[in-house]
Symmetry: D3
Subunit: 299 residues, 6 copies
C-alpha cells in the first residue's frame, strides 16, 4: 500500500510561453520504453513479486523503495508536459477556432483526447504498454536490467534536454538526471554486492557528467546526489543502507540514507480551459454544486 | 509523491493447491481494460492533470485519494496471482523437465517470462496499455467514466469469481467487491453533486448484491463498505467528506471518512523456485553476498 | 443484413483549399477510440449478440437501428477527410516531386498508403482496433457505456471543430453534433426506462449547447434533433418509439420516430489523381476496358 | 447509408452441445486478418474512397455492393460463435462457481469480457485492427488485393471446417464458401476486364472444389453460387451485371444478378444467462421497466 | 545460414543537406506493411517452412534466394534514412540545445531513441510487426501474395519518390524499382508456371514504366532488370533458372541468372555525433580502449 | 548484403511424436521479446547504423558478424517448431474433421494461419515487433543491452527446456545455450575492453552451468563454445579476434576465431499436408507444372 503526499518532487518554474512540440518530445520521458512509466512499473511489479524478500532484504528494500520515488517522477514529468502546453490555444467562441494553433502541432491528441495534458504514450503517440515491464524473478538479471534501464533513461533525458531550452523541461530533466544518477549508482552497487563486479567503473553512461547540464548543478550543490530515501516513515526499507553506503562517485562525499521522502514543492494549479471544456463547470453549475455540497448529509 | 507501506491491503490465505489457469483468468482483473492497472492509472493521471484543483477540491481529493487505494489493489491482485500459480511445477534436474506441467496451461509466459508471477497483461496475454486511460479534463465526463469503469470492473470480478473456487482468488475478489462498491458509490455521489442526478438509484450494476458472495460478507460485517480513506496522514484529501457523507445504501449506517489507510495484512513471502532460477542465488553466492554486505563502506 | 443506399447522410460543401492537417485531426473522429468506427462497431456487435431480443425489444431495436445510422456516419467522416486533403499535391512528372508538399504534413500515410483518402486510424495514425468495442451483455452496463461513449464522441467533435474552420469539417461536425445529441438523449431515455434515473438532467456534456456551433443551427432548424429513424422500410425496429417519445430537451417540440432513413445527399465524386496512380487507368487502358465490358457474355 | 434488415443471411441450426474451443477457432473467421471484419471494412473503405466512381462504375458498383453482403457475413459468423458457446456454463449460486468450466477453455474473454458472445478479435484473442484494411486507390492493385484476400479467407474457412464438426460452424462455413467463391470469381472477372488476364484459370485456391464440403452442396443445389446481389432496391449498383455475366465456372449455368438481397433466415434468440448477469434484468426490474414503458410521453 | 558481405547493394551518393522529414517518409519503405522488412521476413519464413522443397525446387529456390536479396534491401533503405537525417543537428554544449531543430520534425524518435538512424517502424512511427508475414504454406496462395506484396511495395516506392527530390532517397528508390520489378516479374512467371495464368500481362502495376524515374534508367542501362541472382556461390538455388528465363518484358533482351551476388558498393561511414553521445567514446576512452585491445590474450 | 547457405546450423533429430503445445512454448524463443528475431534484428540494425565503423572496427565486426549467426538461429528455431507440430493432424476427407485435434491446442494459428509451421510471434501468439530493437548508437549502452539481451534469452531457453522433453526442442536448445554462451562472453569481453569492467565475473546468468543440460555437453565436447565465426569468406570481420581471445571461462582452453561459418546440417524436408492444402499441388497440377517448366524459354 501507499499513502499519497500532496506535493510534487520539486517546485517547477512557471513557463513564459508555450512549447507544445517540446511537450510532445517530453512524452518520451513519460510513456516511452525508457520513460518514467517504465521505471515505476518495472520496480513496482518486481517488488510485488520478489522471491526471497526476507533472505535478500537489502535488495528487496532497494527495489521496493525506489518504486515509490518513481511514482513521484511520473507525476513530475506529467506536470512538466502540462505546463509546457499551456498557452498554445486561446479562449473564444468555438466558431473562431480558438484551438487553430493546435492543428499543425506534433501531438493532436493533447488537444482532442486530453485537455492539454499529458498522455500515457511516447513521443510518437504510441501508448505505453505492459511489455515494457521486465520481471524475470532472477535477482541478478533483474538488477542488470534495472541498471540498463536507468542508463537508457538517462540517455533519453539528455537528448530531450538538447532538443528544447524550455525552462520547465530543463528543471525537470536537471533534477531527474541527479535522481536517475542515484538510482544507476544504487543498482551498480547492488550488482557489485550480488556478483562482485564493480559496475560503477563504467559510469557515467553516456560518458558526460551531470554537472555539464545547467539545471543539475543546483541539485548537486544541495547534495541530493548522495541521498537515497526509504519513502517510508515506519522504519521499513532501511536495509537499503547496506547497499547505499560509502562515498559518492561524483564528489567523494558520504552517501546517506534518508528515512522518509524529500520535502517536495507545490503541485502546479492548472487553470480552467474553456476552449477544452475543462473542467467545464460554468458559474451557474458551480453555484449549484456549492449548494449541493452544503446540503446536509441526507444524500 | 507517495510513501510506501510494507503491507498488503488484506491478509490472503495460503492456497492448498495450485490453480494456474485460475491465475490466468485473474490476470483480466489486473491487466485487462477493466483491471486494477486501469483504475490506478486512470485516477493517477486524472489527478495529476486535474484542472481547478482548488475550486473543485472535493472532486480532486476524491480522485487523488482513490488513486492511492488502487495502488494497493494492483498489489493485491498481483499477489493473488502469484499465490495461485504456486505449486504448479516441481524442483529437479532440468533434464527431467520439472516444468512439464506448464506446457499445457493457458499462460505460458507465467513460466517463461516471469518466475510464476503476474504479468502486466490481461487474461489472453495482451499487455495493458495506456489507451486504457481516459482523462478528458471535463469533470462530469471524467466522473461518468470512472463510474462506468468501476461498474465494468465489478462485472468482471463477479464473473471471474464464478470461474474458480480458489480461496485466494475469492478472498481477493470478496474484498475488492466491497471496496469497488465504495468507489462506485463515491463516484455516484460525486456525479449527483456535480449534476443533480441520483446515480445511486441504478446500483448495483450488475443487479446482484455483494452479500451474495461468500467472501464479501466478512468485510461488510466489518463495516468497510462504509469507509473511505484519505490515504494521507497530514490532513490532505479530507474534502472527500463533502462527498462521502450520508448513509450507506447497503445497510443505512453512516458513511465515514477515515484519515489514513486501512491497517492491512502481511505481504506473502514467495519461496525460492530453483526450476525458475528465481531468485537464483546459490548457497555459495549467498555467503559471498553476505560477506560483501558486511564489508566496510569503502565500496 | 443490410441494404446499401448510394447516398451520403448530408450534402457536403466542396472545399476551396486543401486542409491536410485538418484532415489528420479529423481522423480522430473516424478511427479514434471515440470515433465513428467505435460507435458503429459497438452497436453492431451489441445488437448481434443481444440477449433477450424479444423480451427487451425496445432496447434491442434502439441499438440495432442506431447501428445503421452509424454506418452512414463512418461514411460521412471518411468523405470529409477525403475532401479536406484534396488539392494538397499537384499533377506532374514524378521527377519534379509533385507530392513534395506532403512531406512535412502530419499524416504521411494519407499520401503513401492511400491515395489521399481516409485511414482506419486515429489522429496520430494508430489503427482503430476491436478493443474499442464494449459488449458486456448486461443491458444497463451497455446502455451506460453507450451514453458515455456518445458524450466522449461529442467532446472530441467539439474540440476538432475548434481546431479548424474548414467548411467541410464544420458541416460534418455541425450535423453530427445534432445526430450525436439525438443518440445521447435516446440512450439517456433508455437508461431512465431501465433504471428510473433521469440521465437527461446531466446534459449536455460538455456543458455547451449545440446551437453555439454555426453549422448546427441549420440542422436544428430542420428539426432533425427531434427525429430518430428506424433505418428499415419493413416495419422493423419500430419499438424505438417506446423510448423515443415525449418532447425534445432542446426546444420542447415533440420527438418523432421516422420509419426509414433520412433523404441524404450526393456522394462526392473523387477525381483521378495521377500523382497517386489512382485509379491509375490510362486512356488506353480505359478503351481496352470498355471493349472488354462490351464483349458478349462469353467470359 | 444503409437500411438494416432484421434477418440473418441463412437459418442456422441450433446446436445440441457446446463447442467453446470451436468457437475460439471460429473467431479467426471473424476478427482475423482474413476474417469477415476485414472483408467488410476493406470494401467499405475502398468504396467510400473510390476515385472515378462514375467513369469506372461497374467496378465501384461491385465493391460497393459486396460491402453490404459482408455486413451480413460478419453478422453470420458472430451468431455462429454465440451459438457454439451456448451451454458451456450453468446457472447457479455464484459460490458454486457456475462458470468453472470456462477456466480451462481457450478464450477466457468469452466469459469475462462478453456474456459468452463473439469478440472483435482473432483465434488467439488479438483484436482486429485497421491495418487490415488495404485501400491504395489504384484500381488494379485494389482488385488484386481483394482477389487475394478472398482466397486467403477461403483457405482459413476450409481449415477451420476441418477442426470441428460442429453443425453450426459447418453450416456457416458451407454457406460462406459458396458466397466467398462468388466473390472470388467476381473479382477475377473484374481483374480480367481491367487487365485482360484470366484469373479464373487459377481457381479454386486452394485446389479443392466447394462441393467436397458436405454443407456447401445444398447451397450450390439452390444455385446461389451463380447469384450476385445488388443489395439495393432502388436500382443502384446494377452495373455489376457488366462484370457478373457469362456462366458459372462450377456448373456452366448462367450467372445472374439479383436486385436486392437474399431472403435470409431468422436471427437466433439468445436466452438470458444469469451467471453472466446478461441481460441482468430481474423479474422485478422488468416489471418496473414495463411500467415506465407504458407511461405517457411526458418524460 | 548466411554469410555476410561487407558491402551495400549499390553506392549511395552523399547528401548535401539534411532531409529529416524525407527520412521520416522513407521509413514507410523500411518498416511499413509493404516495406523491406516485410519482403525480407515474408520470404525468409516462407522459405524456412516450405513444404515440398525437393519436389517444388524451382519455387523453393526462388523464394529462398530472393530472401537473401531482401536483406540487402533492408540494409540499403536503412542506410538511406541514416544519410538523409545527417546534418539536422549541430555539435555543441547541451545547454545551447544543439538538437533544437529536431523538436518540430516528424519523427522525434530518430533523435531520442536512436542516434539519428533508422527505426524498425513505418512513416508514422508504428513498429513493424510479425503480422505482416503471410505464410499459408499453399504454394499458389503464397506466390499470389508475394506478387501482390511486391506490387504494393512498388506503389509505395513510387509515391515516396514523388514526395522528395533528395538524391539519396531517389538513388535508392531508382535501384529498388528495378530490383522490385525483377521480383514482380519472377513471381508472375512462377505463378504462370504454377497455374498457367499469364500475370505479366497486367504489369506494370501501377501502370507507369520504370524508365520514367530518372534514377532507374542508369540501372536499366546496366541490364540489372534482366538479372536474377542465386545469392549463393556453392551451386545452390540454381533452379530459379527454370522460372527466370525467356526475355525481359522491358526490352526483350534475354533474362539471366547470375550465380552469386551483385558486386555492391561501399557501406557509408557514419561520423560521430557528440550531441547524440554516439558512439560516445571520448579521446581518453579511446586511448584506454586501444591499450586494452593491445593487451595480451590473458583476459 | 548476404549470401544464403542451404544448410541448417545443426542437424535436428526427427521427432517420433507430435508436441504441438511444446511448439507453442518454443515460439517464445523465436518471436518473444528475447527470442531469436530480437537478437537477429537488434544486431542487424545496430550494425547497419553503427557510428564509427572504422575507428571502432573490432566492435563493429563483432556486432556485424553475430548478426549473421542469428539468421541461422531464427532458421533453427523455426525448423524446430515445424518439426514439433508434425503429426498432430491426419489426412482425410474434410468432413471427418482431420484437424480436430488442433481445436484444443494452445496455438490455433499454427493450423489456420500457417500450415503447421512457425509464426512470427511469441508463446501467447503476440507478433514480434520492431520495438524489440534497441539501437541507441552509444557503444557502451548498446553493448550493455546486448549482454543483457543474451542473458535474458538464455534464461528463457533454460525455462523452455524444462517445460518439454521433446528431443527436437532439446537438441536446438542444447546447441543454442552453447552459442548463446559464446555471445554472452563475447559481449562481456567487448564491454571489458570498452570500460575496463570485467563482466565475465557475473556469469553465468542464471547461475547454472551449460553442462547441466544433457544436450549441451555434446557441443561443448566439440569445442564449439570456444569458437566465434566471422560468417564471411573474404577476410571481413576478422577484428573480432581482438575481442575474442584468451581462454574459455568454461574449460580454460584457448578461444578461436573461425573464418567463415560452421559446417551445418541438412535442412529438414517438410512433407505435404493435404489437410492444410500445403503445398496444395495435386498430381495433375504437378504434371502441368512439369510441362510448363520444360517449355522453351519463350515465356
Amino acid at each position: 500500500m501507499i499513502t499519497r503526499i500532496n506535493k510534487l518532487a520539486i517546485e517547477l518554474p512557471m513557463p513564459k510561453e508555450p512549447d507544445p512540440n517540446g511537450a510532445a518530445a517530453v512524452q518520451e520521458l513519460l510513456g516511452g520504453r525508457f520513460g518514467e512509466m517504465s521505471t515505476l512499473n518495472n520496480y513496482m511489479f518486481q517488488s510485488f513479486s520478489f522471491r526471497g524478500k526476507k533472505k535478500l532484504k537489502p535488495f528487496y528494500d532497494l527495489v521496493a523503495s525506489i518504486t515509490a520515488e518513481e511514482f513521484g517522477h511520473v507525476e513530475l514529468v506529467t506536470n512538466t508536459i502540462n505546463l509546457m502546453i499551456q498557452g498554445t490555444t486561446f479562449q473564444g467562441d468555438p466558431n473562431i477556432a480558438p484551438m487553430q494553433n493546435a492543428k499543425d502541432l506534433r501531438n493532436s491528441q493533447h488537444y482532442i483526447v486530453t485537455a492539454q495534458t499529458a498522455l500515457v504514450a511516447d513521443s510518437m503517440g504510441k501508448p505505453w504498454n505492459g511489455d515494457n515491464v521486465f520481471n524475470s524473478g532472477n535477482l541478478i538479471l533483474d538488477l542488470l536490467h534495472n541498471f540498463f534501464l536507468e542508463c537508457g533513461a538517462r540517455t533519453h533525458k539528455m537528448r530531450v534536454y538538447e532538443m528544447t531550452n524550455n525552462p520547465v523541461a530543463r528543471e525537470m530533466i536537471g533534477y531527474l538526471l541527479v535522481r536517475g544518477g542515484v538510482h544507476i549508482t544504487a543498482y551498480a552497487k547492488a550488482l557489485e554486492i550480488a556478483t562482485g563486479v564493480d559496475m560503477t567503473k563504467m559510469l557515467p553512461i553516456p560518458n558526460l557528467d551531470n554537472n555539464v547540464f545547467d539545471t543539475t548543478r543546483k541539485y548537486e550543490a544541495m547534495g541530493i546526489h548522495r541521498k537515497l530515501y526509504t519513502w517510508n516513515f515506519e522504519g521499513e526499507y532501511k536495509d537499503i543502507s547496506k547497499i547505499w553506503k560509502g562515498v559518492s562517485p561524483i564528489d567523494g562525499q558520504p552517501l546517506e540514507v534518508i528515512e522518509g521522502t524529500p520535502e517536495g514543492g507545490p503541485i502546479p494549479e492548472l487553470d480552467e480551459l474553456p476552449e477544452e471544456f475543462a473542467p467545464g463547470i460554468s458559474r451557474e453549475d458551480f453555484e449549484e454544486i456549492l449548494k449541493r455540497l452544503q446540503r446536509s448529509a441526507g444524500l
